[in-house]
C-alpha cells in the first residue's frame, strides 16, 4: 500500500508538469501547427508569463533581495490573467517587425528574442532578483488546504502511514485538477477557433501565403493574431509553473526545457493536431522521466546523466522526422464545425 501511494504521488507530480508542458505545446501548435510561424523562442514567453505572475501575486522584495519592484500580493487569478496579457502584449510588439520575415529568418529572430529576454532576466536585478530568483510565490488556495492537512494530521496521529502520505499530498491533487481544467479550457477554445472560418484562414496562410493574400485576407493581421494568441497560452503555462514551483529563476527557462522539449513534444504528437500536442507532451515527458530512472540505474547522475537524456530526446526527434514526419496523430484533414471526418470536401 505504501509503495502504491508513493507511485500515485509521483504520478500526480508527473502529470502536473506534463500538463504544463501540454499547454506550452498547445500554444506552439497555434503558431506552428496551424499558421506555420516558426517560433524557437518559446522559453521567452514562458518566462515572461512566470515572472509577471510572480511579481503580481508574489510577496514584496525581502531585506536580502536585490529586486525593488513587484510583489503586489494580488490574488492568483489576477497574476494568471496578467501573465497572459503581458506575454501577449510583448509578442505583439515583437511581431510588428518580425512577422514580415520568411520562416527561417523568423526562426533566427525568435531565438534572438528569447536570448534577449534571458539576458534581461539575468541582468535586470531590480526586476528579477537576478540569479537569486523570486522566492515564496504563493500557490492558489494553498493556505486553507495545507491548514486542513495539518489539522487532519494533528487530529489523526494513529492514521496509517499511507493515509498520512496521501493526505499530505492533497494539494498536488488540487493543483493537478487546476492544470487539467485550464488545459481543457485552452484545448476546447483552440478547437472551436480552428473549426471556424478564422481557423481555416490560418491554415490557408500556412499552405500558401500569397494565395491567401490574393483572396483578400489580411495575412499579416491573421499571423499577428495567431502569434499573440500562442504567446498568451505560453504565458499562462509560465504562470502555472511559477505558482506550482513557488520559486523561479532564469535557469528554469533555458533553451532545452523552455523551447526544444516542447518542439519535440508537438512534432511527436503531430503538428496541427491539438490532441496530438497533448499526447506528445505526456509521452515525451514520460520519456524524460523514464530516462532519469534508467540513468540512475546505471549509476549516472548530475550533469552527465542530464546530457545523456537530452541526447536521447534529440535522437528521438531525428527518428520521428525521418520515419514519421507527421507525428503520432498527424494533422486532421478536415477541420470544420459542419463537415464530419468522413465527408468529401
Amino acid at each position: 500500500m505504501d509503495t502504491l501511494i508513493g507511485i500515485l504521488n509521483y504520478a500526480v507530480f508527473f502529470a502536473i508538469t506534463a500538463g504544463i508542458f501540454a499547454i506550452l505545446s498547445l500554444g506552439l501548435n497555434i503558431q506552428w501547427g496551424y499558421t506555420g510561424l516558426f517560433n524557437i523562442g518559446i522559453a521567452g514567453f514562458y518566462a515572461i508569463g512566470a515572472y509577471t505572475s510572480a511579481l503580481i501575486s508574489g510577496p514584496p522584495p525581502g531585506p536580502m533581495d536585490w529586486r525593488t519592484f513587484g510583489g503586489f500580493q494580488l490574488p492568483w487569478i489576477v497574476g494568471f490573467i496578467s501573465a497572459a496579457l503581458v506575454s501577449g502584449f510583448i509578442a505583439f510588439l515583437i511581431a510588428i517587425p518580425t512577422l514580415r520575415l520568411k520562416e527561417d529568418y523568423l526562426a533566427i529572430a525568435t531565438i534572438g528574442i528569447a536570448e534577449v529576454i534571458r539576458l534581461v532576466l539575468k541582468n535586470e536585478n531590480w526586476l528579477t532578483n537576478s540569479v537569486w530568483g523570486i522566492k515564496h510565490i504563493p500557490s492558489p488556495l494553498s493556505t486553507p488546504i495545507e491548514n486542513w492537512v495539518q489539522h487532519f494530521l494533528d487530529t489523526n496521529p494513529q492514521a496509517p502511514f499511507w493515509l498520512q502520505s496521501l493526505v499530505s499530498n492533497i494539494y498536488n491533487w488540487f493543483y493537478l485538477g487546476l492544470v487539467i481544467l485550464i488545459m481543457g479550457l485552452i484545448y476546447w477554445t483552440i478547437e472551436r477557433m480552428i473549426r471556424s472560418p478564422w481557423g481555416r484562414v490560418l491554415r490557408a496562410i500556412r499552405e500558401d501565403e500569397v494565395a491567401t493574400g490574393t483572396a483578400g485576407k489580411n495575412v499579416f493581421w491573421f499571423k499577428m493574431q495567431s502569434f499573440v494568441l500562442g504567446a498568451m497560452v505560453m504565458g499562462m503555462a509560465g504562470s502555472l509553473y511559477a505558482h506550482y514551483a513557488r520559486f523561479i529563476d532564469a535557469s528554469s527557462f533555458e533553451p532545452f526545457f523552455g523551447t526544444f522539449l516542447i518542439w519535440v513534444m508537438l512534432i511527436t504528437g503531430g503538428s496541427g493536431n491539438n490532441l496530438g500536442a497533448i499526447i506528445g507532451a505526456f509521452l515525451i515527458w514520460g520519456v524524460w522521466a523514464g530516462t532519469e530512472f534508467l540513468t540512475s540505474q546505471w549509476g549516472l547522475s548530475g550533469v552527465r546523466a542530464a546530457s545523456l537524456r537530452i541526447m536521447c530526446v534529440g535522437v528521438i526527434l531525428e527518428f520521428i522526422l525521418v520515419l514519421r514526419p507527421r507525428g503520432i496523430l498527424g494533422e486532421e484533414k478536415v477541420v470544420s464545425a459542419i463537415l464530419r471526418k468522413g465527408d468529401k470536401v
Binding site: 517587425p97 520575415l101 525521418v322
Partner: protein
C-alpha cells in the same frame, strides 16, 4: 584612459572576435546558400572542433611531444597539430551527419532540415558535455603579457596576432579555392542554382559533401581560435556564439562567403565597441538588433544577390 584610446583598444578586440565570428559565418553562409537551410547546429560544430582539438592535445601529451612554446606564442607545436587534426575530423563528422540524417530529409523542405539541425545542435552539445563535463577545459594555462603596438597606442597579445593571421590565411585560402579550382567553381554554381548546376553535369552530391567539410572545418578553426583567445572552452560556447554568427551571415548576405567576412567583422567590432557604452552582457542584443534592422530593410544583406 581617455575615450579615444579606449575605443581604439576595443577596435582591436573587435577585430579579434570578428576573425573568430567570420570563420563561423563563412561555413554557415556556404551551407545556407547551397543546401538552403539555416543550420542551427553550426555553433555547436565550432565547439565540437574545439573539443576534438582538446582530445588530440591530450593524446600528444601522452605521446610526450615537445611542449615548449613557440616564441612569442604561449603554445607549442602540439596545439598547432591538434588545430589541423581538429579541422579535418570536424569536416569528416559533418559529412557523416549529412549522410545519416540531413540527406534523408533533403526532399522534405528547408523547415524540416532546420528542425533537424536544432536537434543535432542539442545532441552535439550534450555529447560534448557528456564526454568532457560542463567545467571549463584549458588549452593554455600560461598567462601572456600584452605587447604595446608602437604609434597606435593599443595593446595586443602575440597569440591574438596569431588568431588574426590564421583567420586571414584561411579566408585567402578559401578565396583561391572558390575562384580557381573546379570544385570551388562548382560550389558557386550550385549555390546560385542547384537544378541548373545538376543539368550542367555538376556532381551536386560531391559539392554538398565538400560544402559540409569546408564549412565545418572552418567552423572548427573558429572554435579552436576562440579557445586560444579565451584560454579555455566550455560545451556551451558555440551555442552562445550562434546569434553572432547568424547576425554576420544575414548582414553579409546569405550564400556569400565574402559577405560573411564583412558581416563577421562588423558584428565583432560593433559588439566590442558597444561595451564602451552599455553593459558587456548585452553584447548579443547588439548583434541581434543589427540583424533585425538588416532583415527588415535589406533582407538579402550587404553583398547578397537577388
Amino acid at each position: 584612459m581617455d575615450i579615444a584610446s579606449r575605443i581604439s583598444q576595443l577596435v582591436i578586440y573587435g577585430i579579434i572576435s570578428g576573425s573568430i565570428i567570420t570563420l563561423g559565418a563563412i561555413g554557415l553562409s556556404l551551407t545556407y546558400g547551397i543546401l538552403k537551410f539555416a543550420n542551427f547546429a553550426h555553433g555547436d560544430v565550432m565547439s565540437l572542433g574545439a573539443f576534438v582539438a582538446l582530445f588530440f592535445l591530450a593524446i600528444f601529451r601522452l605521446a610526450n611531444l615537445p611542449t615548449q612554446p613557440l616564441y612569442p606564442l604561449s603554445f607549442g607545436l602540439p596545439l598547432i597539430l591538434a588545430f589541423i587534426l581538429g579541422m579535418i575530423t570536424t569536416g569528416v563528422v559533418a559529412i557523416v551527419i549529412d549522410k545519416i540524417l540531413y540527406r534523408r530529409l533533403r526532399t522534405t523542405g528547408s523547415v524540416t532540415l532546420l528542425i533537424a539541425s536544432v536537434g543535432v545542435s542539442f545532441v552535439l552539445r550534450n555529447f560534448i558535455q557528456f564526454v568532457w563535463g560542463p567545467q571549463p577545459r584549458y588549452y593554455i594555462k600560461k598567462i601572456q603579457i600584452t605587447e604595446r603596438i608602437p604609434f597606435l597606442g593599443v595593446r595586443i597579445k602575440p597569440d591574438e596576432v596569431f588568431i588574426i593571421c590564421v583567420a586571414i590565411f584561411l579566408v585567402i585560402f578559401l578565396h583561391l579555392f572558390l575562384k580557381n579550382t573546379k570544385m570551388g567553381k562548382a560550389m558557386r554554381a550550385t549555390s546560385d542554382n542547384m537544378d541548373l548546376a545538376r543539368v550542367s553535369g555538376i556532381d551536386t552530391e560531391s559539392v554538398i559533401n565538400w560544402t559540409w567539410a569546408i564549412g565545418s572545418a572552418l567552423a572548427a578553426a573558429g572554435g579552436i581560435l576562440a579557445g586560444i583567445e579565451n584560454k579555455f572552452i566550455t560545451p556551451n560556447f558555440g551555442w552562445d556564439m550562434l546569434l553572432f554568427i547568424f547576425a554576420a551571415v544575414v548582414l553579409g548576405g546569405v550564400g556569400s562567403p565574402y559577405g560573411a567576412i564583412l558581416g563577421g567583422m562588423i558584428i565583432g567590432l560593433s559588439g566590442e565597441v558597444s561595451t564602451a557604452f552599455i553593459s558587456t552582457s548585452y553584447k548579443p542584443a547588439v548583434a541581434f538588433i543589427i540583424m533585425i534592422v538588416m532583415l527588415l530593410n535589406r533582407p538579402r544583406g550587404i553583398l547578397g544577390e537577388k
